[in-house]
Symmetry: C2
Subunit: 342 residues, 2 copies
C-alpha cells in the first residue's frame, strides 16, 4: 500500500505510533503545533512544508509563495496563543528556477516575517524536482496561556475570526474558470494569493485567558470543527456560518451551495475558537480592541455530533471533509498548474 | 540565469542581502546554525533539507535516510556547542512510496533523535516529486559558550575529531564501482550509510570554553577550513591529515591521492576546531574523557592563505572545493540512483 492510497491523515496516525513522545510536551500530538517548556514560558514550534504542485495555485507570484509559507506557519503558532518570534526556511528549487524568481521568493519570506513581527534567521538551499519551501516558526507564550485543541467544554460558545468562502470561490475561478464580477473576483483571488494569519486575535485571547480551545482553519472550517470535537471529546450545534455577500452571489450565479464553499474550502487562516460563555463578552471586546471581529457560529455540546441547524434549512450533519494531501480532490489539486509560476 | 547555473553558495550569498537580520542574533549569517538569546541561554537552531536525488546514495535504507537527516541537523547544533534537545521534520513523499518505507523513515528519524538525546516532536507530511526530509533541530547552550566560525586567532591549534576519507572512498565504491576488500568496504559504506555526529566532543569543548571556533565538516574538510578562514579572517598551515590506513590502501590500489579523498570528500560529520595553544592539553584531555580523540592537523596563521605542508610533499594551497548542490560534481551527484531506495 502506498502513501497515495491512504492519504495524509492515515499516514500521520501511523507516524504517531512510531515516535517516542517528549514527556514534558505542552501540547499533545496532533495539535496545530508542538510546544516545550522553557522556564515559565512555552516555546511553540510549527513546521509546514509548501510544495509547488499542491500548494501553489496558478497565477501566484514567487513573492506571494514566500509570504504564504510564512502565513501557514505563523497561523499555527498564533492559534496556540504564542507570539511568533523567529523562523527558518529550507528551500528546494528545481534547477531551471531563475535567480530573479528565487530572489522574489526570499523577499516574500522576509516580507511575510516582518509583517508578523518575526525575524527570518536563515536556512538551507537545495536542488529538488518540486519547488519546496519548508518553514519552521518559533513563538513564545506563558506556559499557562497555551491554547490547545482539547479544552472545549459543553456550553462554550464557538466562534470564528472572519467569514468563510472566499478561497473556495477563488479556486473555482482559477481552476474551473468560473466567472465573477471584477470586484468580487479581486477579493476572492486576494484571499487565495495573500491570505492573512489572525495573529492579534490569537495573542489577545491567550493573554487574557479567554479561549478554551483554538485551531486554525487551514484545512477548512468543517475539518477544524471535527478536530476540536475529536480532541476535546465534545460536539457542536452550528447555527450560523458567516459568508461574505460576494460568495453568496457567486454561489447563486453558479448554482452552488454557499455553505459548501464556506465549510469545505480550506486554505483559509481564520481561527476557530471556543469561549466559555461567561467570558464571551470580554472576548468579543478584546478582539475588537485589536481590530478584529469574533463571529459566534454556535455552541459546544456534550453529544459528540456536529449538527448544522440553520434557519429555513433541514438540520444535517457536518461532514469530516477538508483538503488532504495525497488524496486528489477537485478543488485543491493544482496538478501541473502548480509549477507554472509567474 | 538559473539557480543551476550559479550554484548553492552564490544563491545563499544573494539571499543574505535580501533578509533583514535579527539584531540580537548570537551567531552571524553564514555560520553552521542560527541562534537567539533566551535569558542566559542561547537557543541554537539548524534546518537542513535532505533530498532523495542528491543526498541519498544507492543502497541506503529508508531507516538510514531518516537517521542521517537527524545526524545532519544534530551535527550543526553541536558544532556550536549546544546540547540538542528537540527536532521537527517536514516530510515530502512521492505518491508511490509504500507505507512500510514511509514508516521505516519515521522509525529512523525517531531512532536518530533518541541516539543523540533529542525528542522528535512532530511535523508535517506532504506529497512531493522527490523524497524530502526537512529537519529543524534546536539545542540549548549558555550564551557565553556558543562557538562560532569566527573566533579563530593566529597561533591557535587546528584539530579534528576523527580521520577523513571513508565517505569519499564509500562514494567511489558505490558510484564508480571501485573495489575494496570486504572489511575496508564495510567501514567505508558504514561511514556513508550511518554517519556519526560528534556530539559529546562539541558539548565538552563548549562547556569548558576550550574552542575559539568550530564548524562541522559536512561540506568536506577543505571547505570547512576555508569557511573558518573566511569568517575568522585568518589562514592555516596544515601539516597533518589523519586518514585511516584502509583509505590509504584503497587510494594506492586505485592510483588515487589519499589526500584528495580526505580533503574534498564531504558528507563527513567530524568537527573542525581551533583551540588556543594554552588550552590545547586540556582540550585533548576533555575530549578523551568523553570517549573521543582530537587530532592536531596544523596551526592558525595571520596570513589568510591555506597551505598544506606535509613531510615529503611539495607545499601547496588547499583549494576551496567541496560538495555543492546544483553544481554537478562527479563524486556526489547521485543522479537517478538517488531515488532508488530500498
Amino acid at each position: 500500500m502506498s502513501v497515495g492510497d491512504v492519504g495524509e491523515r492515515s499516514l500521520i496516525d501511523l507516524f504517531f505510533t512510531l515516535i517516542e513522545g517528549f514527556p514534558r510536551a505542552v501540547l499533545p500530538f496532533g495539535d496545530d503545533a508542538v510546544g516545550v517548556p522553557l522556564g515559565n514560558d512555552a516555546l511553540i514550534i510549527n513546521t509546514d512544508m509548501l510544495v509547488g504542485r499542491t500548494d501553489v495555485p496558478p497565477g501566484m507570484s514567487y513573492w506571494q509563495v514566500g509570504r504564504k509559507a510564512v502565513v501557514m506557519n505563523v497561523s499555527d503558532v498564533v492559534a496556540k496563543g504564542a507570539k511568533p518570534m523567529w523562523a527558518v526556511f529550507s528551500l528546494g528549487f528545481p534547477r531551471h528556477t531563475t535567480m530573479d524568481d528565487a530572489g522574489e521568493l526570499v523577499k516574500g519570506l522576509n516580507a511575510g516575517c516582518r509583517e508578523y513581527g518575526l525575524y527570518y534567521l536563515g536556512g538551507d538551499t537545495n536542488e529538488c524536482a518540486d519547488l519546496v519551501v519548508s518553514g519552521t516558526a518559533f513563538g513564545l507564550v506563558g506556559r499557562t496561556s497555551v491554547i490547545s485543541r482539547s479544552g472545549a467544554r459543553p456550553g462554550d460558545i464557538v466562534a470564528v475570526t472572519g467569514p468563510f468562502g472566499f478561497t473556495a470561490m477563488g479556486f473555482k475561478i482559477l481552476l474551473e474558470n468560473m466567472s465573477a464580477d471584477s470586484q468580487s473576483k479581486n477579493l476572492a483571488l486576494r484571499a487565495v494569493y495573500e491570505p492573512q494569519a489572525k495573529m492579534r486575535e490569537g495573542i489577545v485571547l491567550s493573554e487574557r485567558n479567554l479561549a478554551s480551545s483554538c485551531i486554525d482553519s487551514s484545512d477548512g472550517l468543517a475539518w477544524s470543527l471535527h478536530e476540536i470535537s475529536k480532541m476535546s471529546g465534545i460536539g457542536f450545534i452550528i447555527d450560523s456560518i458567516p459568508a461574505p455577500k460576494e460568495v453568496q452571489t457567486f454561489a447563486e450565479n453558479h448554482n452552488l451551495d454557499p455553505l459548501e464553499l464556506a465549510l469545505y474550502g480550506g486554505e483559509e487562516f481564520e481561527l476557530v475558537v471556543t469561549i466559555p460563555s461567561v467570558k464571551w463578552s470580554r472576548a468579543v471586546d478584546s478582539v475588537k480592541v485589536v481590530g478584529g471581529t469574533l463571529y459566534k457560529i454556535g455552541t459546544v455540546t456534550e453529544d459528540k455530533e456536529l449538527l448544522l441547524r440553520l434557519p429555513n434549512r433541514a438540520e444535517k450533519k457536518i461532514e469530516p471533509r477538508g483538503f488532504e494531501h495525497f488524496r486528489k480532490q477537485s478543488e485543491k489539486d493544482f496538478g501541473e498548474h502548480g509549477t507554472d509560476l509567474h
